[in-house]
Symmetry: C2
């Protein structure tokens, strides 16, 4: 972790470029910066468990974190997978300071932790931040809604198609090449299916939409074909990126 900036400066820099903090008080930035910690966690590190008492909320500076729940017998359901700039854990303020999901680092991650008390105070006293929080939660909710809908309406290969479409940055013409952001097993769990099902469904998707898959690289020749296959079982059509977008 060699950097021109010291940790405090890095934190301040990150906060200032995170949309959620737009319009917050100087105090908030200062307090957050001074009380935040920047830590680096490796793959496998559990940040907290479902039902744990929450003390901080988090911002991912760089890396990947998985949110999930599990039953008593250990089956787990991945709720979300987050990366750079994403915020999580803040909603616990309204949930009795209790986490609603577990969080695990799935790839080396630099993480900023900020005490919830600071956030709570700012939300209560700064309408602008209360509004930002409302916007954040509303987006999260929208995302959750779609998540459930997808699971109800779409079959495995359509869910994969949807996942791929949402990796596309800009609506663009011609051939598109992109990469899965993490390994297939994880994508499978993100989409609530078994790795075997993922593998077979991807095969089916290839046949039916003409996409090419080699390792984690995907080439799309005819995006309309993919869209048609994928979005027919959905309440909104591609590009629906604004609805599923990253949240920060």
């Amino acid at each position: 972790m060699i950097s021109a900036l010291n940790p405090t400066q890095k934190i301040e820099e990150t906060l200032k470029k995170t949309a959620f903090f737009n319009g917050c008080s100087e105090d908030f930035i200062n307090q957050s910066t001074s009380q935040a910690t920047l830590s680096c966690a490796n793959k496998g590190k559990i940040l907290f468990f479902h039902e744990d008492k929450a003390k901080h909320f988090y911002i991912i500076q760089r890396g990947w974190v998985k949110l999930y729940r599990e039953t008593l017998d250990g089956t787990q359901a991945v709720t979300d997978i987050l990366t750079d700039g994403h915020i999580f854990g803040g909603e616990t303020i309204f949930q009795n300071n209790t986490h609603l999901y577990s969080a695990e680092v799935i790839e080396k991650t630099n993480l900023i932790s900020i005490p919830l008390a600071i956030l709570k105070n700012e939300i209560e006293n700064n309408p602008k931040i209360a509004m930002n929080m409302l916007l954040l939660m509303s987006k999260n909710q929208q995302k959750q809604n779609l998540e459930l809908e997808h699971h109800v309406f779409k079959n495995a290969s359509q869910r994969i198609g949807c996942f791929i479409l949402r990796l596309i940055d800009q609506p663009q013409k011609g051939q598109i090449t992109l990469h899965l952001p993490y390994d297939k097993t994880l994508v499978a769990s993100r989409l609530h299916m078994q790795p075997e099902t993922f593998s077979r469904a991807l095969l089916k998707l290839k046949k039916e939409t003409g996409i090419e898959v080699k390792g984690s690289t995907i080439k799309i020749d005819n995006i309309d074909r993919l869209t048609k296959h994928t979005c027919s079982a959905c309440s909104s059509q591609f590009p629906c990126k604004d609805k599923m977008q990253k949240l920060a």
Copy 2:
């Protein structure tokens, strides 16, 4: 609709007993009351469609309303079913004044509609109401989370078991008798399954947990047996009512 109160009084009365309005300004109550309309809609009435522009938010004074989404080909997924005291549609303020779901009256309903502008104004200017809104949205989100989890973890008869358990008002001992709040076809769709599946899964539940079912009446002799069957595939055990509770 014979009542000792005129519509305006009824509206005011309803607002004042709705938790969401605790701590709101006098102005808010007054404005809401004067600009709200109390209407009565019959079964089948569509209040709005997914993607419609939103102009009001709603409070159910008495009745039942179904929230749902549908795909182009008309398949529908029921998101929620609401009744007395429930609020919906307010979140559209943060969603570009666009509805995220359709709403249909499923049983004769008295409905209060209040212009969104009033709510928006109050949220922006009254931190107490902003906080209430945050709490409401947080509860909704919690509910959505569980909804998805259930769909991933539980099979049909477990989802029914969970639905039944959540109908229980108070943790109580001994035999419990309760009634399904609306017809079985609707419960089935609420739980994302076909009526046929519902019927068979309920039969299975009877055999495995010893509950008795006659029409819409359900008798539970041994609640532990039901809980064990139902909650084994969940991240939280009965009574989890606080997490799934009505939202108003």
